[in-house]
């Protein structure tokens, strides 16, 4: 492979987002879209699977499992249906990449769906998008409609003999449905609760048939891999974390937003591009990949953001949702809000998560509001210990990450809330607008969830 220098940002998924009416089929085709499908249809499906395997593309939804390998797990065709289900239920706190992608460039996802379906022998694919993004759902419905009209979906696509129907399905508000087997139950019209594995979806997924569940960004990465080749993809990123990805910066940065870069970029580099921390403030803590990934601090500014390096540093690359908090932020308040979320979203199927998040929430609240007791930190850690590894699915495990990592990094701050009987921070200092705090933090936390 030639050693060409790779630019700091590599817009591929985001390349057409600034086009006029970028979401339309015309704009997508004008930008070179739908060439990947033509190229894929000219090859046997197995070759398409192989190029994705060769590219080293790993799942962009958080877990990082090799995408081509996942496709390869489907059993040999038995004449019955096989399904592709796109996980577009983006709801991990801090994660905000798939929704803007689908708003700006839904055709890219549809092309990825068509190629993936062809590769795995699927003739009915589903896109499960969370129900809380009305306009994204409109855009997806329209994109599918346009793709049918142009002959990219439907019967005998481009004269290839390949048929594909795509159904865009709106969820109804449940974080758990981002877990792939809960998503499948939800798509089957049930409460969205995770299934026992094995069997894995590759063997018994949607309607107990072989099913591939892939994240939006993973599927959207496929057309360029097919068009440009595996070596091209591997020329970006690191050896084991190949390719490009969307890095979503939010919080106390000057220019928050989507930065598409090769995997392995560092937060220091991204912050430079995003104008740094607001007001010259100091970075206090950040999440590398959403709220379920253990917190990092300024000690991790130079950690390469690839799967291996982030894991070696004690966290997870997750969804590359970089939530940035400066020194004005109370870490107890941050973690308390995240725990409200986990308690609210626990599906209730398993006891460690259902009961554990309930108690974690209560204890964090009383610490934040000044009623914490000396033993509370131990109880928090003990509760986390009883969830991690004992929950039915990864979401319960994830709920412990912010608690254990924040206590490890900021134990004195928790203790100060307990001994000082309240929060020493001014919440208005952390906000992006000026206001006079109306009351003590105690009252602020009285809301429902």
């Amino acid at each position: 492979m030639s050693e060409k220098t790779i630019d700091p940002l590599t817009p591929i998924l985001s390349e057409t987002w600034d086009a006029d009416r970028s979401w339309t089929l015309d704009a997508y085709v004008a930008g070179g879209g739908w060439k990947g499908l033509a190229k894929a249809l000219a090859q046997p499906p197995a070759d398409v699977v192989q190029v994705v395997k060769d590219s080293g593309l790993r799942g962009r939804g958080g877990a990082g499992f090799p995408t081509g390998m996942k496709w390869g797990f489907l059993p040999a065709p038995d004449g019955g249906p096989r399904y592709l289900v796109v996980n577009a239920d983006e709801s991990e706190p801090g994660t905000c990449k798939d929704i803007p992608l689908m708003l700006a460039s839904p055709q890219l996802l549809i092309e990825g769906v068509a190629i993936t379906s062809y590769a795995i022998g699927c003739d009915h694919a589903f896109i499960y998008v969370r129900g809380e993004v009305l306009h994204v759902y409109r855009r997806l419905l329209r994109a599918v409609e346009e793709a049918y009209a142009a002959g990219y979906l439907g019967k005998d696509i481009q004269g290839s003999g390949f048929d594909l129907d795509v159904t865009v399905h709106a969820g109804a508000g449940a974080y758990i449905c981002g877990e792939e087997t809960a998503l499948l139950d939800s798509l089957e019209g049930l409460r969205g609760q995770p299934r026992l594995k094995p069997p894995f979806p590759a063997v018994a997924g949607l309607y107990a048939r072989p099913t591939v569940v892939n994240n939006v960004e993973s599927v959207a990465s496929v057309p360029a891999i097919v068009t440009e080749g595996a070596d091209w993809f591997k020329s970006m990123g690191t050896e084991r974390s190949a390719g490009h990805g969307l890095f979503s910066l939010s919080g106390h940065v000057v220019r928050p937003g989507q930065y598409e870069a090769p995997l392995g970029v560092t937060l220091r580099e991204l912050l430079d591009m995003a104008g740094g921390i607001r007001g010259g403030n100091r970075l206090k803590f950040w999440t590398p990949g959403g709220s379920s990934t253990p917190l990092f601090t300024d000690a991790h500014l130079d950690t390469p953001l690839d799967y291996e390096s982030v894991a070696a540093a004690g966290s997870m690359l997750g969804t590359r949702a970089l939530q940035i908090f400066d020194e004005t932020t109370c870490v107890v308040r941050a973690v308390s809000r995240w725990m409200d979320f986990y308690a609210h979203e626990s599906c209730g199927k398993c006891t460690p998560c259902r009961e554990g998040t309930y108690w974690l929430k209560q204890i964090l609240r009383r610490i934040e509001t000044g009623s914490g007791t000396e033993g509370d930190l131990d109880v928090l850690l003990d509760t986390c210990d009883n969830i991690l590894g004992r929950a039915f699915c990864a979401l319960g495990d994830g709920a412990t990450s912010p608690v254990t990592s924040s206590i490890a990094l900021f134990r004195e701050e928790f203790e100060a809330h307990i001994t000082g009987r309240g929060c020493p921070f001014d919440p208005s200092a952390a906000a992006l607008f000026d206001y006079t705090p109306r009351r003590a933090p105690q009252a602020l936390t009285a809301g429902a969830h």
Binding site: W23, S55, R191, P198, G257, M316, R337, F341
Partner: protein
């Protein structure tokens, strides 16, 4: 049909209309039961919430019990168990938005409207909610009105927005349709019935384009693609490398993407008997 219509409580014309819509929904799926989530959205488009009539209707149409429908309806936050306002105003109070100002926006709105979380103003215009992360963190703090994006909000902006909604004015989201539709209209779209408004609004806001604009300024691009022959070229070496790299993954805490642990996982020898379904 008349008997069923009577049982669900809808008059015959309404029943017939909903039954036609239901047939269109059912046709999208290989199995009928998958229609339930969109049907609950459909029921909300009729009644403004998941009514008893709506539950009975779904049960009749899908051949399941009302209890089974209720079990699903109570699981998902977007299904309302009591009549919703014309507009759901949702303030994100998940950590990122809360700290950037979402907590104060919620408090200000709550005081201004005189209602708390999941409560509706007396005029039936607004149901106020705390909402969870809505995937717009780079636009924090965010307010959603009927699940359209109102980005970079302030307390003053949010109360003004609420006042305009209560006055019956059209309001335009930052990223979304040209104006916010009603809760019932929204629910019909979520049931999968297009309202023809997909082409309204912008493709992206400033934060979405932040990286792209910077790349354009500096002429940063993706590397040039390989020549057309690359698809099968050097596949063996690359494949070996990919497989080698892959052998180290799987130890992450996600059971969602766990590697197969028995040969049966990969070969398909064991259908999921616990689901009570066969292919």
């Amino acid at each position: 049909m008349t008997l069923e219509a009577h049982r669900s409580g809808y008059d015959e014309a309404t029943y017939a209309r909903l039954a036609t819509d239901t047939a269109a929904i059912v046709a999208r799926y290989p199995e009928k039961r998958s229609a339930l989530l969109p049907m609950l959205h459909l029921v909300q488009s009729e009644d403004g919430y998941v009514s008893r009539d709506g539950i009975a209707f779904c049960a009749e149409q899908l051949g399941i019990t009302a209890a089974e429908v209720s079990a699903v309806a109570t699981f998902y936050t977007q299904y309302k168990r009591h009549p919703n306002g014309t507009y759901t105003v949702g303030v994100c109070t998940n950590t990122l938005c809360a700290i950037m100002g979402g907590d104060e926006i919620f408090d200000e709105l709550s005081e201004h409207l005189g209602v708390g979380h999941d409560e509706t103003t007396d005029d039936g215009a607004i149901t106020l909610e705390r909402v969870e992360c809505n995937a717009a963190c780079d636009y924090a703090p965010v307010v959603m009105v009927n699940w359209e994006f109102f980005d970079n909000q302030t307390p003053a902006g949010a109360t003004q927005l609420a006042d305009r909604l209560r006055a019956g004015e059209d309001v335009a989201p930052t990223r979304g349709a040209a104006s916010v539709c009603t809760f019932k209209q929204m629910s019909r779209v979520l049931a999968g019935f297009s309202d023809g408004r997909a082409d309204e609004g912008v493709g992206a806001g400033r934060p979405t384009l932040a990286g792209l604009r910077l790349a354009r300024e500096h002429d940063w691009t993706a590397p040039a693609g390989a020549a057309p022959e690359q698809v099968d070229g050097s596949a063996t070496d690359a494949g070996a490398a990919a497989a080698e790299g892959a052998s180290a993954v799987g130890q992450e805490q996600s059971s969602a993407e766990r590697r197969p642990t028995t040969p049966a996982d990969a070969t398909g020898a064991t259908p999921d008997a616990s689901k009570g379904k066969q292919p």
